[in-house]
Symmetry: C2
């Protein structure tokens, strides 16, 4: 089993309080987190800038990935299964629950292929599905 420190070390990052804490938040949460969520959950124990930089580093190292939103914010999610193996995150399906408002990363669902008009060469596709999640039925 992996401690936060293990994950950080394995990905070539120095082990610091802020990184351990923020990683812990992701591991505890079952949904995606926005910058604001992290600020709230750490009670601003860390500087705003540190949070920005930590998130950026995590994305660069491939520990978390960004989820596109339509409300001028970025959601970040950690993928337990697949991302742990260090693969690409680009073909995930994300599910936004209209009931509990969580965004869930459906790791094991594959994005279906789509037929594009002539001339368009796709390389990656992302999908955002809205609806009611399994806990809110």
């Amino acid at each position: 089993m992996d401690t936060q420190a293990d994950i950080l070390k394995r990905n070539g990052m120095s082990i610091t309080e802020s990184r351990k804490k923020i990683l812990e938040l992701f591991l505890e949460s079952d949904g995606a987190l926005a910058h604001a969520d992290i600020e709230r959950n750490t009670h601003t124990a860390f500087d705003r800038v540190t949070v920005y930089r930590t998130l950026q580093t995590f994305v660069e190292k491939g520990i978390i990935h960004q989820i596109p939103t339509t409300d001028n914010s970025i959601l970040y999610a950690l993928c337990r299964q697949s991302c742990a193996q260090g693969h690409h995150h680009d073909n995930h399906v994300h599910f936004i629950c209209t009931q509990c408002d969580r965004t869930i990363c459906l790791d094991d669902v594959t994005v279906p292929g789509v037929k594009l008009p002539g001339g368009f060469k796709p390389s990656q596709s992302a999908m955002v599905v809205t609806g009611v999640c399994k806990d809110c039925q």
Copy 2:
């Protein structure tokens, strides 16, 4: 054929300079536009607030729709074919070209269904495909 004024009037909006001009930008552009693009293209002839409010009104009236992005911005796009008839915009496929960096709204492509884990009830789905567009091959 439709002038900008016609479109505005048909959708129950007063006809003003800013609205005509911003609508013109969308009609001329073949990609999606961000708030910043509009500011740039109008050489800030209109107040920042007016642009925000105009975009908001256009979204409410269904003339344009928002495209989720991963970079803390919102892209707005006008859908020529389908949106003109006033239908829902939620199942569009959007294509981001890595070459010319444009975001194109593929009006006539239907988002394919996706098989979700048990308990998840989908209501809408959006898809963002990255790749090379037909003009950049």
